[in-house]
Symmetry: C2
Subunit: 297 residues, 2 copies
């Protein structure tokens, strides 16, 4: 139980997970989460899922609930249009969205879009806003590794451009659902193998399709250990990501936003290119961004 | 029913499918197939699966059964060691393998392996042997598109080197199991979109990871038609494959072995690079290779 009643509720609603925080000002008093991600929900199931998880935090006078993430997508609770770059991350433009329970004052933070090359994000804009709120005047490139890794060019408080790579999703598909799955461990690591594969993919990115199959062949012929293969797969895919995003990070000040286990290989990969990177915790940035959104209501 | 009794049985046993032919000399009199691919079979289930499908072709005196494909893999019926390149495709080295039914005289064609870069094949060596049996003295590069596309350098009747790319498997994973699946049709085509994406991936292969996500973003922002997205995904992945295999096909005589729908986009892709390619039917090459194996018993 929360000892002191919250004044608002922060919500990060993604594809696979719903997370809520009982907030007092900028401070999270309690955090809860459920598996009620977008994937399993029909539009009329969002409000019950939220009330199941956080309903007891909402008093009879109602409460502001500020949400970011895929909740605002076409398959989400309410679709909220993207804001086009260049723009400040649009946390000050949260959209009031209807709810059946009149105590629920729902606000959804819009995502961002880029016309050319076509690109979109939902959720990361809030983390970027949080990072900029905590690092006033910061210019440079923000890397947000994950299922869909984002590289974001920030200047004078605005997102100028961004680029998404399927890196995390490719890793999961290849490691769990492809022929390579027989050769790749669920956990474990080999730092030297990671660095070598990263270098291989960075310097010869055009050979990726062949380098991936070689992981399987190297196991069949030489019994490559599965934790080594796991680190090599990560190195190949992050190397390919770095090759694709070179124009973003080369010679730039870089911040990596994410959970430590997700951020670590990117930080290491950037270090190996001679690019030092600041690390910022993903959850902390989400909360700082949602707090900025709440203050702007 | 076969009108005239076969003298031997040709078998192509892959991951997802078992196919058998009742052969008289080099001529197939009847073909049958079942879904008894390797994936669903324990080692003791291979012989019953074969007898269910082709048992009535085998007389009381027994019969030579010549098999190629994953049947000789570690997870197959009997493991048959790879033969190292450089070597002629080892159809003349089929390995006699035990069976419980004494009428079954089982022979399994070995696959090929390459030490560096590590690579393996099982099944394609038989198609290559078939192609070389039908095209005496042919030198050049053979492309075998599929789940795992192979590029094979052939000289003086021997396989000198080869390279595998995960192209077909990546296409299936991305089109059916990734975020892109929402934007990609099961069928349909757009030739101009294919050619443009191919060119994009060929000339900027290092941008593949970002180009893939752009397929999804282009649908969300611009409503890119799903058959166009399908052709673009194929173009990106085959373009990446061509970039990886450039040292194989550039300036070479190329033959593409495969079913027409699998071979067609590769033939078109090679034409767009100014490389004319001969096409050879995959099933016909398999039978010609197994026939060469049978003659060599």
């Amino acid at each position: 139980m929360v000892q002191v009643a919250p004044d608002w509720i922060a919500v990060d609603w993604g594809t696979s997970r719903l997370r809520v925080w009982a907030m007092q000002g900028a401070t999270a008093r309690e955090q809860r989460q459920s598996e009620d991600g977008l994937t399993g929900l029909t539009p009329d199931a969002f409000e019950p899922a939220l009330l199941r998880l956080a309903g007891d935090w909402i008093g009879p006078d109602g409460m502001d609930i500020v949400a970011c993430g895929m909740v605002g997508a076409r398959q989400g609770w309410h679709e909220v249009p993207y804001v086009a770059v260049p723009t400040a991350p649009p946390v000050a433009a949260a959209v009031r969205s209807p709810a059946i329970d009149t105590r629920v004052r729902l606000w959804i933070v819009p995502g961002m879009k880029q016309a050319s090359p076509p690109d979109v994000m939902r959720g990361e804009e809030t983390q970027i806003a949080g990072f900029l709120a905590l690092n006033k005047g910061w210019d440079g490139v923000i890397c947000l590794p994950g299922t869909h890794t984002k590289w974001v060019h920030v200047s004078a408080g605005e997102v100028v451009s961004f680029q998404t790579a399927l890196t995390g999703e490719l890793f999961a598909l290849l490691a769990r659902h492809s022929t390579l799955r027989h050769s790749i461990a669920e956990t474990g690591w080999d730092e030297d193998a990671f660095a070598a594969a990263l270098d291989q993919a960075r310097s010869r990115p055009e050979r990726l399709a062949a380098a991936l199959f070689a992981l399987r062949a190297d196991d069949l012929l030489n019994g490559c250990p599965p934790d080594t293969a796991r680190a090599r797969l990560s190195g190949l895919l992050i190397g390919a990501d770095l090759a694709a995003s070179r124009a973003y990070w080369l010679g730039q000040q870089v911040a990596v936003i994410g959970a430590s286990e997700t951020a670590a290989p990117y930080v290491r990969a950037l270090q190996l290119q001679g690019v030092p990177a600041t690390v910022a915790d993903g959850d902390r940035m989400t909360l700082a961004g949602l707090t900025a959104a709440h203050r702007a209501l």
